[in-house]
Every structure is written in structure tokens, then in C-alpha cells.
Symmetry: C2
Subunit: 245 residues, 2 copies
């Protein structure tokens, strides 16, 4: 028992001093902030340990207390329409903030679930906004992130064909992964076909078929959830690529 306590304290210790050394700080809230300001931000951050696959970070309707920055792992956000149908809103990589749409009514507008083992930084909203009164950089960061999120969801607005959607998704994911230091050609999809199809507003069968078609044309190779981009340029041209990053 004392053993686990020690270990979790170690974890906590390591995570505490994050922003300064975190490779994600350029993508996350502290982007471009002076080192001193970063330190003040760090003091507010509550690290949240391993979150198992399928575990929820928050659920729709819950009171809003904090934003969450993904530290490791993938998350999926989704909402449930009154018809009962589930709609996937997005997939979230390390360095991205979740829960921004809850600021308005102070209630979570969507649910967030881990797609694999993950960890996050919890950013208590009240304290963050307090601090941002003093740190212009932090305030601007928050506005920028919100604004970017908005621009992203706008870019998804058009009506695209199944092929455009999937090509666009793959190229967009590739660039997002690259920015985070992963391979930009070898992608590991952490979501099921079902989630992917739902997100792209397609049927799972359509996703499957387009994957096969792309593979036949030599654009990609697919092995289960491993996708390798063979001809990224052509793929990018295919999807009227709207990669926001």
C-alpha cells in the first residue's frame, strides 16, 4: 500500500513540473509564454494519472469545473442526440484541450472518453481565468485555442464525398501527428471503424470500401488499424485538404 502511494507521489512529482519541460508546451495552453509565467501556470495544473481505455474524463451534462489538456493517449469526444444516436465530435491528440464548449453554459456539452491508456493535465477553470487576468499571454492563448477550434469545425462544414472526407482525415491526422513528433506516414488509428465512420458521417462499410479502394490505387496500405500513406501528396490533393495545425 505504501509502495503504491510512493509511486503515485513520484508520478505526481514528475508531472507537477510539466509545462517547462513538456514537449507539448508549444501546442498547449502555455504556447509562447515567458518561463516565469509558465511556472505560475504550472502551479494550478492538476495531473491526472493513467486513465484506462474506455474510461470517461467527463460526461455530457456534468458541471463544468476544469479544462483538460491531453498529455498522452487519444481521446474521443461525442454527444448523444435526443434520438439516442451518438455523434462523434472529434479525436484529441496530446497537447490539445478538451471541454472548451462547456465554458458557455458551465455544463459539459459532450462526453470525453479515452481510446487507449491516457493521461491529462487538469486545468481548473476558475483559477485559470483568474491567472489570465494577470498574464496577457495566457489570456491570448485561451482565445487562440478556442478560435482555432472554431475554425476547425468550420472547415468540416462543407459537403464532401466519402473519398474526400477520408483522404482529408488521413492527411490531417498525418500532419497533426508529425507536429507531435510521430511519423507522418505510418499512422496508428486508435479509433474503431465505427467511431471513424460516425465522425466522418459515413457508414462503416463505406469507410471500409474507400480504404480498400485507396489501397488498390496504391495511395495507402491498410493493416487493421495501421495505415501507411504511400502517396501523401496525391492523397492531400484528393481531400480538398483542410488541415488546420
Amino acid at each position: 500500500m505504501s509502495g503504491t502511494a510512493t509511486r503515485s507521489q513520484l508520478n505526481l512529482y514528475q508531472l507537477r513540473r510539466t509545462c517547462g519541460t513538456c514537449t507539448l508546451s508549444e501546442l498547449c495552453l502555455p504556447m509562447g509564454m515567458p518561463r516565469d509565467d509558465m511556472r505560475r501556470l504550472e502551479e494550478l495544473i492538476v495531473p491526472r494519472g493513467p486513465i484506462g481505455e474506455g474510461e470517461h474524463l467527463f460526461r455530457i451534462g456534468e458541471p463544468f469545473r476544469a479544462l483538460y489538456a491531453v498529455r498522452g493517449g487519444f481521446f474521443k469526444t461525442y454527444l448523444v442526440e435526443q434520438s439516442g444516436r451518438e455523434q462523434v465530435l472529434g479525436f484529441h491528440l496530446p497537447g490539445e484541450l478538451i471541454g472548451l464548449d462547456a465554458i458557455w453554459p458551465q455544463k459539459h456539452q459532450c462526453s470525453a472518453v479515452a481510446l487507449n491508456t491516457a493521461s491529462v493535465c487538469e486545468l481548473p477553470y476558475a483559477q485559470i481565468t483568474n491567472l489570465s487576468q494577470q498574464l496577457p499571454g495566457l489570456q491570448h492563448s485561451m482565445l487562440r485555442l478556442l478560435s482555432k477550434e472554431l475554425a476547425l469545425s468550420h472547415s468540416l462544414a462543407g459537403d464532401f464525398t466519402a473519398e474526400e472526407r477520408i483522404a482529408g482525415f488521413l492527411t490531417s491526422l498525418a500532419t497533426r501527428m508529425k507536429v507531435r513528433g510521430f511519423s507522418e506516414t505510418h499512422l496508428t488509428l486508435s479509433m474503431s471503424r465505427r467511431d471513424l465512420a460516425n465522425y466522418l458521417r459515413l457508414a462503416t462499410e463505406t469507410v471500409s470500401r474507400v480504404f480498400s479502394r485507396f489501397e488498390k490505387e496504391g495511395l495507402i496500405t491498410v493493416d487493421r488499424r495501421e495505415v501507411t500513406l504511400r502517396d501523401p501528396e496525391k492523397l492531400a490533393r484528393f481531400g480538398n485538404c483542410l488541415s488546420i495545425d
Copy 2:
């Protein structure tokens, strides 16, 4: 010449002292702000006189300097994909803020055009953020508005049938109009069928057909751009209504 100068100064004079008396202040940025704070906000606001139908407030790609609050009239925001296709992002009623998605890259991400004679309040971004360092209420208002905008665009994400989309649009517009003191049953659509169809990701013919169908079923009556809701409840049930307001 001196006559018009006098008149525009009069306009300016009247518009200057806006937020305090503006009936929209509860919807707009100053929502819920103390009267003194409102006054400081007012000093930053630059009223922009009559904007003719078809005139642009800003165009995609232009450098971002200010947000705009709609004072009177309707606006349409849209973007142009590299394919050349136009995508309508939204219609904006008095009290709503335009240009929020430009904060991130400091460039306008969409174009905004007046659908009829309109007027706006220009909110110089740099000064607004400066002031919001001092006024917590203002900061929170900005975040709330961004967040709300985000939630709204999320709610449009699902894949709905043509009927659901149109029913949803009508009920949503009705509630938005009601909040602003207009009739909630008699709507004047200020946008063309083409714009409406584009926004809803449908063909103009489909919009036309659904309107007719709804009319036959006694849900609405349509005369050109005048739409009267005959059975708002049924209509709301029809569109899995996602009215954000």
C-alpha cells in the same frame, strides 16, 4: 457634403453611447457587466454606419484587427474552398459577434457580407483584450461567446435528413428572433434559397420541395421569403431541435 457630415456625426453620436441603452446588450459582449465597466467598453467601440446589402464587412484572408457585433440587419459568413465552391457558415442576427475564428491566425478565416442594410459595432481586438485584462466580466463574456459558437457548430455536426435540417433551422431561427423581440411565428428569411440550401448542405431544389411538403402538411405557410410557422411544436419535434440560445 456638410449635410452628410452632420448626419453621420449625429449617427456617430447616437451610436457612441450604445451599450448602456442597447437592447442587445444582454446578448452581446457586455452581457451581465456592471454599468461602469460597460462605459469603459463603450469607449472602445467604433460604430460603423449603414452597410448596404451585398457589401462586405471583411473578406477571407484580410488581416484581423477587430471583431464586429451586429447592431442591425443580417449578415452571412462564408468561406471559399480551394475548389472554388462557396460554403455558407452561418447567418448572424443583431447582438451576435462576427470574426471570432480570426483570432487564432490573426487573419480572417471567412468573409462576411450584409444580407440587407445593416450596421455594426467595431470592437478593436487589441484594445478589447487589453481592457479585458482589467474587467473579469468582459473576459468571461468573450470566452462564453466563443464557447457558445463552438457548441453551436458542434450541434450541426450530425447527419440529418433534409426535413430535419430545415425544421431545425426554422425552429432555431424562430427562437433566435423571439429573444431579439421579433415575432417567433412569422419569419422573414433574409437569405436566398441558394444561401439557405448551401448552409444546410442541400440543393436549392430540395429546400424548395421540403418547404412545399411542409406547407401541404400544414406545418408552415410560405410566401416568397416570408415563412409563417403554423405548428411550431410539431416542427420542433420534426427537427431534432438543437436550438442553441
